[in-house]
Symmetry: C2
Subunit: 205 residues, 2 copies
DNA sequence: CGAATGACAGATATTGAAATCTGTCAGCTG
DNA sequence: CAGCTGACAGATTTCAATATCTGTCATTCG
């Protein structure tokens, strides 16, 4: 069998597995190289540092979520149907619910990758900053749509500003710092209460 | 000079100083005893464990803030005047601003006591839970007042539920986890945006 | 006799030496 | 000769021995 060429993508796949198995604290570059059947020097040919590798893996992982959410922000039905003319409020509500669900599942199903994400957070990584910017951008699309349709209003009608406020106000339901709280009973109700208050704050009546 | 009797209160005062000086990681019960000029056994006569002492100090410290805020939740003018008939919205806005300011100043001026508070948080201490319950209770008073005056409405008009939603939605501006963020430029604007959205969500129009 | 002491056992933290890991690079290999 | 290897230096982590701290309690002190 012709041994496949070592690509950055292949390294990322395997690194993700290694991180899943050992977690960010224990996984080493040598572990990754061993799993790939190469020397660790080869890994360094594709990623200048271990931090860069960690960032690239997390970016891939975060991008998968952002991609999912983009369907909603672009007006598609969350059930996966084709784009519809759903109200901005429904879109906003679905998007925030989907964000909460996505983060919660990531924390529960992939604790080690989630821990890796938290490492980046503590390092103030650009990757996390960009992920957040992307999410706020998606929110801004929904908010702007709401403004255009005359569904939403705000004192200062800058969609991005409002999007950031929505993002900040729902921090408890997507910021990794709160992950332990997401499995407690009553979170759902707390989330619903915040969401309802925020939606009412945007609604034109 | 008649050496004063060793009271719990005296121990708390001195422990606060010791914590301020050494921080929760370095301060020991022996340090506290030394500062009091007694043996550490005497401290244990008043507090069963070091954790209990730490909790008592933090409780005192948190209670001081809660007391300040109570003036606002009970309708007093924040400038310290006598109780007035200010609108519930003004009270709510002032209270949330005051909470943000109080936490921010505590984090900035008393980093070591703030760190002690964070230790309790990580221990899921009852003291912190009660502090939060007290704060939400104060918020509920303001919200209830708003309901009674016909200033506020909500889908489910339980003042405590709404109070909790307000508390959750402003977490980024009072939860110690975000303390580093409070000194960044732009926080004020972010806070104002969230506050404005929330107030609008409550307002009867 | 009630309050305080300090010696003590077990738990926790500190320290420094040894082991491992990261990142580089001269040389090897297909 | 492009891509990979593995020996190496410096950085970081681990580990075990040592020191310090917590919490108890028999004894002392006023």
């Amino acid at each position: 069998m012709a041994t496949e060429p070592l690509t950055a993508e292949r390294i990322l796949e395997v690194t993700e597995d290694v991180l899943r198995k050992y977690g960010p604290a224990k996984a080493t570059v040598v572990d990754v190289a061993r799993a790939l059947g190469v020397s660790h020097g080869s890994v360094y040919r594709h990623f200048r540092t271990k931090a860069a590798l960690r960032e690239a893996v997390t970016k891939r992982w975060l991008d998968r979520t952002a991609k999912q959410l983009r369907f909603i922000s672009e007006g598609a039905d969350p059930q996966g149907g084709s784009p519809t003319d759903r109200s901005a409020e429904a879109n906003l509500s679905d998007w925030l619910k989907a964000l909460f669900e996505a983060k919660r599942h990531k924390a529960g199903d992939d604790p080690e990758l989630f821990a890796t994400y938290e490492v980046l957070l503590s390092e103030h990584s650009q990757v996390v900053e960009e992920h957040i910017k992307e999410l706020i951008g998606q929110l801004a699309v929904i908010v702007d749509d709401g403004f255009r349709r005359g569904e939403f209003t705000s004192v200062r009608p800058d969609p991005t500003e409002v999007a950031r406020a929505l993002f900040d106000a729902t921090a408890k339901f997507h910021d990794p710092q709160y992950a332990p709280y997401w499995s407690l009973p009553g979170v759902e109700a707390d989330f619903a209460a915040v969401l309802s208050l925020l939606l009412r704050g945007l609604r034109v009546r």
